[in-house]
Symmetry: D3
Subunit: 286 residues, 6 copies
Amino acid sequence: MFFHKKELQYHAKPERPDPIFARQLQEVLGGQWGEISVAMQYLFQGWNVRGNGKYKDLLMDTGAEELAHIEMLATMIARLLDGAPVGDLETAAKDPVIGAILGGMNPQHAIVSGLGAMPADSMGNRWTANYIIASGNLLADFRMNLTAESQGRLQVSRLYAATNDRGVKDMLSWLIARDTMHQNQWLAAIKELEAKENVVVPSTFPRELEKQEVAYTLFNFSEGNESATGRWAQGKSMDGLGTFNYVENPVPLANKPKLKPAPEYIFDTPLAVVKGRDEQIPPNLI
Amino acid sequence: MFFHKKELQYHAKPERPDPIFARQLQEVLGGQWGEISVAMQYLFQGWNVRGNGKYKDLLMDTGAEELAHIEMLATMIARLLDGAPVGDLETAAKDPVIGAILGGMNPQHAIVSGLGAMPADSMGNRWTANYIIASGNLLADFRMNLTAESQGRLQVSRLYAATNDRGVKDMLSWLIARDTMHQNQWLAAIKELEAKENVVVPSTFPRELEKQEVAYTLFNFSEGNESATGRWAQGKSMDGLGTFNYVENPVPLANKPKLKPAPEYIFDTPLAVVKGRDEQIPPNLI
Amino acid sequence: MFFHKKELQYHAKPERPDPIFARQLQEVLGGQWGEISVAMQYLFQGWNVRGNGKYKDLLMDTGAEELAHIEMLATMIARLLDGAPVGDLETAAKDPVIGAILGGMNPQHAIVSGLGAMPADSMGNRWTANYIIASGNLLADFRMNLTAESQGRLQVSRLYAATNDRGVKDMLSWLIARDTMHQNQWLAAIKELEAKENVVVPSTFPRELEKQEVAYTLFNFSEGNESATGRWAQGKSMDGLGTFNYVENPVPLANKPKLKPAPEYIFDTPLAVVKGRDEQIPPNLI
Amino acid sequence: MFFHKKELQYHAKPERPDPIFARQLQEVLGGQWGEISVAMQYLFQGWNVRGNGKYKDLLMDTGAEELAHIEMLATMIARLLDGAPVGDLETAAKDPVIGAILGGMNPQHAIVSGLGAMPADSMGNRWTANYIIASGNLLADFRMNLTAESQGRLQVSRLYAATNDRGVKDMLSWLIARDTMHQNQWLAAIKELEAKENVVVPSTFPRELEKQEVAYTLFNFSEGNESATGRWAQGKSMDGLGTFNYVENPVPLANKPKLKPAPEYIFDTPLAVVKGRDEQIPPNLI
Amino acid sequence: MFFHKKELQYHAKPERPDPIFARQLQEVLGGQWGEISVAMQYLFQGWNVRGNGKYKDLLMDTGAEELAHIEMLATMIARLLDGAPVGDLETAAKDPVIGAILGGMNPQHAIVSGLGAMPADSMGNRWTANYIIASGNLLADFRMNLTAESQGRLQVSRLYAATNDRGVKDMLSWLIARDTMHQNQWLAAIKELEAKENVVVPSTFPRELEKQEVAYTLFNFSEGNESATGRWAQGKSMDGLGTFNYVENPVPLANKPKLKPAPEYIFDTPLAVVKGRDEQIPPNLI
Amino acid sequence: MFFHKKELQYHAKPERPDPIFARQLQEVLGGQWGEISVAMQYLFQGWNVRGNGKYKDLLMDTGAEELAHIEMLATMIARLLDGAPVGDLETAAKDPVIGAILGGMNPQHAIVSGLGAMPADSMGNRWTANYIIASGNLLADFRMNLTAESQGRLQVSRLYAATNDRGVKDMLSWLIARDTMHQNQWLAAIKELEAKENVVVPSTFPRELEKQEVAYTLFNFSEGNESATGRWAQGKSMDGLGTFNYVENPVPLANKPKLKPAPEYIFDTPLAVVKGRDEQIPPNLI
């Protein structure tokens, strides 16, 4: 169950409206790495954990906080849209600043949402659950969480550098700090899990069932061998169970595949034609 | 530039056709964490690296290898579909095994692709670039790569456990081993980058510009405090620059937001109505 | 800000696992009219309301409750998936019941989510914000809310009729009752708004600016005139401002459109060719 | 069967080209609430009605008319794009008006559609059937139809206010009037259905099978109780079958959920790890 | 403008219900190559033609007919769904035929559409305008139309082979014949256009502006040279303006690309790190 | 298997950065008809060919080349984005050129990809496999390939006309020439297949099973008969097996459809209501 408190977790008030920046800010609200993504991802991971405990609680704590971040961003965007102008080419031609706004803002902020935030990114792509994962395997998922907080902090930093509005910067500096915590927290959780399970996911798949002869090999499929100088091409593997090696000229281990013809009821190209033979196909051969 | 060699990197031959498993196998070909995702992700990351060197080479090596894995899976799926039956309820009712196939296979494998693999997942969702990222920040991206290899190996392991076909198992055990390598390799690369940049992405955002007072704080937004017992709630932070702390009862730091009314040309609900006042609105008030 | 309480709003425990029904139940979790849709829709509408008051509070109350319903459904689905079998054709062929499960369940429940709920519908389409709206106009949005609760209750009723599991039925009968309330509540709110604004959205667009001569006319574009017998074809209009009328044979009011040719740099088909003239086009005419 | 007449239902001729407005106008052609949505929605609802009569005829009448509206908008957009400039930064830098056009227009109008309308919204999202519903239940669907006409008229009104072009305004005032009719017509049809079925959808689900004790209750999940003052919190319910009541402090009715561990073949995190116990997991435990 | 006649263009009555086949049939209604695709594609192409004449008329004739085909398929699907069973695992386990139906049918046909057709394909993917094109260039578009009729007839043929129902087969044999006509008709139109414009689209791009030295060259990027034996590798080119040639060992014509570093405000990986140098990066370097 | 060579197939260096054009160029990288589409389409077609030979080799040759084109475009886009400015309204208002850039560029090029190319089109829609087909029938697929190269060359030509940058023009003139070849090559392959199979796809469906009486008929569904003057309305059909004819006034061949009522457990509108009868429905009739 969820309870909502109307006060915001932190301030979300710009110095002045700016519909162009409102559009950009949508990226970290409804984009691939935005707050909707982390909120939904952490909550689904939390709900799907089989067995309770501190990891589940951590997921629910953080998922609930991200809902508050959606709320802060939605509020900020609505305020950046205050009194946003609408208009056509005539309006744009008269005033270069309004022209820049009409060109640079998201027209859906006027037409669709009536000057409100949208569950979409800065290019207007609506949020989709394609962005998230809850796999049931905590180490795999926490790595995604660390990724999301890394990409998220990166995007918020880019937005911070792009605005001069002190109110916006103030809120972004809060979000950046929270992402610092969230990266640290998932790193801590990952470290714990790796200590117990070792580093390869899933830890429970029996090693003897995989082709161990290629489990620590770097194949050089891109001409030039700068990659041979990396840590990943020599020395003990990160899981401590093998030794990295480098194959300069990888060779195929199987023949050219040759597929059987399809049954007639599939109406694929007749085999004689596929093979490029010159004979003509009688009409309606089946 | 890319060159194609027709031989397969590894064998992709099942013992017998199995259209149900062909559908399941689509998940790791064209699903969120399938081979198309990693191929496209590594190549785009590689193309976008600003400045060459061993990381770029590593991305191109691995991206090119993943193309070979798409090829192996596409071949395997086509063979699993050999001679797949088609039919309606009458056909299904006559033979329970054919009924199970008709129910469990992807009908598009017959109708759309003519018994070939599709760029889609096990539920028929076509592959979308929403799944991938190339951000220009290598540490952020390598964390996504490690995630992808973790989720990928997890899914292939689940598929390995679901089949009795020794040919399929043989190929999957190759893919699982390659994912072992790829997890190890991204871990090695991440370790290098973290050693140089510390662990928080992006490393170049000035610390004094973020709200440092909440950069190491866990807020307890989910009642119950199991999460307080984790490493993330106490001790030095993972970046070594702060100390984790735990806030049992988080309080809002800002007031209830109140948004200004929209301009008339937006045709939002009139303010008197929004506020729930009882007066009636004169028609066409603008 | 949001706070989470770990107890469920209502019971979510099936009598027995049923992976086929788990898949069906996804429809009302992550489908077009599922709980994610209403939760996100009400919250975005609430955040975007310009001016506070009882409507905003009602939206936040209900939005927060819907989060609890997502949670209940996610829990129920995970339990319906308990111990779900995996397998290939060989497994399916041996046991007709397992065959039915393998055919009828969502394979992603095993491969992707590890026996957890997914933010997707019963056909595996991931949730998308294309399903929802927050327009800034409360009457328009409350009509959508009423729609969502109507379609939602309809779907839950269909699912109720499809299962024999008493635990599932118990939870669904809770959700159905809540949808009864939510339909009643949006009806009450709509009635209030209509009393103040009249029934046509938006109420503030000046009537004299629309073509009033066709504002109450039913055009008969489908041969046969059963529709002429409806209330909408005669008598006072529902907004009380006009009289319905019926046009049996609608005629066009404008000529055939004729578009100007495109500039050369668009490389459209040359005009002479479009017109079907017989002359030959000199190569590279620009 | 459908017959097409080449004349337009109403004029669709702008005073002058305006590629920026052409982009905005796409919203009501191919957006969530645009003409493609209503045309497809009404036709599918009509085709799926089980049993003929006036409602089906009304759906087919209106669906066929909406096809004519798509046609009018497509024509208008093509004319607004007449001679639209193309260019790069150099072109944009030379002339602020052309710069504004290049920034504000949809580049696909030049590159993809060759100065023609597209089945897409103002941000270039292609139309998707995710926007529509045909459920087989007329009351549920007519509510969606009323919603669509409400959102649609709202958006067209916003566009009307955004342009100074008298030709565009003339066409929009026609569409606004038609939306006035369509709102009135669905209201009339809804009123009829509600008179026969009462207001809760579906009307045929037995009341005694839902949890009637919460069928008229407003739970206060958002702190603050402005919503307690609304009609929905007191008095007879809108369906006349209950009495609204308000619960200030909602409590959970079920315990914390605890999910069983997954089978080994799912390769989820081992239970000991999930629980946060400190023991180490032996490698490959299955 | 469009007028609807309620009679069907051709019969759409199955011998008996078959919910499994109903699902399969959705492919040619709402799939990539289904009737919605061709209807929308022809209509948009027709509306966007700049200059009227026989091609535009042909597009409108065929577009309007395809609407009738959607109608026939929607009717057939609804009838195939007559009385479709619903149920859970218990129901499925009791009766293998019902089990096969529950596994093989689209559950949304019961839950979402109430036994009606959906604007979706056989895997439940909703129709999207991503499938279609209207480019303003008739030759380019007619080639897509020919493609659509080819893929469409192929899919209908596969469905014809998959059913034993004489009513379904009767309707499909009508659709197959219409696709025969439509392939013939687009071939005729293409032939006319090619006679006037030659075969390369667009015909109006000046030949001297393209790199003519590679305009008729086949590069051998896939090891093995079976393709060298084709017509495309030797002799006069199809446009009559060049001579095909074959390059056995293609070589790059440009150097390795090297991208400049990004500005600091982008927060990409610092250049020293990208290059793999060993120095450590001072924190917060900007 | 695939091998990557780091040198580019052809130059990809602009004279100067241009973030607006970078956005436009995305269309032919990640749009519907961009290089990702052709690369993936040819490779999937090649992998799915059942039976090897020259056609399969041709597909693999061309598919591998298209990967090189993605690489060239990605490189060009990254260079066009060199040093792209970021900023808000204040920045835009100060300098009209920067204002035009901020309005016209894709903000995700700064926020998401860090000045790198994205797998998306010019409106930011991420690439989706909805764009492509591999059907198993070579003639159907080669027609799609010809379509793709026609639409692709058309779009590149439009982009060529839109830029003054000689470096960009140089690369585009290479791509245009390659599209000339690829149109010629698919035309040659199609000609071969048509010579063997005749022109209607699929060639193997028995003619006597289709309704031959409508296999060569043009129905006049759009008032006005300009289309009657085309080649498609008279003379021998293109497949040589029939004679085109024209039906001026098409009539329906089947009655109005009437669907049976749905079972009660579907909760559709009760039949009496659907029929518009006036009786009232008893509550909870099942």
